[in-house]
Amino acid sequence: MALRTLIASWPAVRQLREGDAFARGPAAQSPRTRDLTPRIDHADRVVESVCPYCAVGCGQLVYVKDGAVDHIEGDPASPISRGRLCPKGQASKSLVESPLRETKVKYRRPYGTRWEELDLDTAMEMIADRIIETRAASWDYETETGAPANRTMAIGNLGGATLDNEENYLIKKLTVALGIVQVENQARI
């Protein structure tokens, strides 16, 4: 019985049975080929997103499988991009899932010659302390000429054009309160 099905499944037999004389079609098809489906059809969820590269603002659909980004492609609904993406946008999945991405805090002590490990909480604590100390040590209530200053010129913050509006909002809000005026981003480049 099993032998018969085995023989029946032999393409050389099927090509006669299925009228595919030269075995260039269905007869030579493997089960895997027959049952193939696109992996995006098995995504756990599809998430609406926007391309992170240039400012055209192409719509993206992010396909998530088992907690990881499985695939990213253009969102056809977008009136700007109409589902299309450039090579960079198209490579977004490789960007977010890249093995080159750092996932751990790295710390280089003054005059150090190598990276060291540091846990995130400690790092945050240290950074907060650095800001408070530097700020206290460098605070100007006034300029040399006696004009009001209320600032520290010893701390700066750079970046923003690749961040979200909400993130930029918090940066500006916090730095204003801290008296950090040297806040800049890619708008200058």
């Binding site: 030269f22 193939l36 992996r39 299309r84 450039c86």
Partner: protein, 295 residues
């Protein structure tokens, strides 16, 4: 005899055998007159099909660092810098033009790779396209020199790249464009066509694409585009027409394409007969060797 070898009509070989499962034949119309050479198609293809990175070598050949189709390149954008005007109607366009063309497997109506494949790994799908079944291919390599366009190649992974898109032991087999067979089955258009920012790559039922191409040719000829021509649109050409055909702005060979490709099996009939003759003569020859003086 060649017709009995399976190139009966303009229909793609093997396609009819699908009977009720048969789908409309689909393909690509790649219109180079709107190609901006962004290579989104190359990346989209690799992202979807998880194709390994193909080496980081700079060629100095305009902006083309991909160079050719192969096992790890299923879309290849060619760049040709020319001292030729884009238009011939003297509209004052500069005497300089930069041709860009996204090349791909032609999914021939009469496909040599499909014909010569000894294992049935290469098949015609219900959509009239040609694919390599990776669970079947045993890497005999016959399809590689059989393709008149140099599309297929064997994948050799010297050292597994440390970066993604390389899953399991994929070396030794032959790879090429599948026209995103899996996506088609799910009702999605191929990745490259979906990505193309300017619709230089158009996907659809072949009949429709041919009509669109004819209209396009008429428009561009009217506008006096220099050297505009449809390549692979003619069902009477040497491979019975391409499933993925092109609008070019110069001779095919300028883009690295054969000017008059012919499916190798077109002459298989005469080859078999000349073999039969040779075999017979061999027997006769041997026999002759015995006739005559005997010891």
């Amino acid at each position: 005899m060649s017709s009995t070898l399976g190139h009966p009509a303009a229909a793609p070989d093997g396609w009819d055998a699908y009977g009720d499962d048969q789908q409309p034949r689909v393909g690509f119309f790649t219109d180079t007159s709107v190609c901006i050479g962004c290579k989104a198609c190359e990346v989209a293809c690799k992202e979807w099909n998880l194709i390994p990175e193909d080496g980081l070598s700079w060629t100095g050949e305009s902006y083309d660092n991909t160079s050719a189709l192969g096992a790890n390149t299923w879309r290849h954008v060619a760049f040709i810098e020319q001292e030729k005007p884009l238009h011939t109607n003297g509209d004052g366009s500069t005497g300089l033009r930069w041709l860009m063309e996204s090349d791909v497997c032609k999914h021939c109506t009469h496909a040599a790779c499909l014909d010569v494949c000894p294992t049935g790994s290469l098949i015609r799908t219900e959509f009239g396209t040609v694919i390599v079944q990776q669970d079947i291919c045993n890497g005999c390599g016959y399809c590689v020199p059989a393709c008149p366009f140099g599309v297929l190649d064997k994948r050799h992974i010297a050292k597994p790249p440390e970066l993604p898109a390389f899953h399991g032991n994929e070396d030794g087999r032959v790879w090429k464009c599948t026209l995103c067979y899996d996506r088609l089955k799910g009702g999605h258009e191929p990745a490259c066509a979906k990505a193309c920012p300017t619709q230089s790559i158009q996907f659809g039922p072949l009949d429709e694409l041919r009509e669109r191409a004819d209209a396009r040719l008429a428009k561009l000829s009217g506008e006096g585009w220099n050297g505009v021509q449809l390549y692979g649109r003619d069902p009477d050409d040497g491979v019975g027409g391409f499933g993925a055909f092109f609008l070019l702005l110069d001779d095919p060979e300028v883009y690295g394409l054969p000017p008059d490709p012919i499916v190798t099996t077109k002459h298989l009939g005469e080859m078999w007969s000349s073999m039969a003759a040779a075999a017979t003569v061999l027997v006769a020859g041997v026999a002759c060797a015995f006739i005559g003086r005997r010891r």
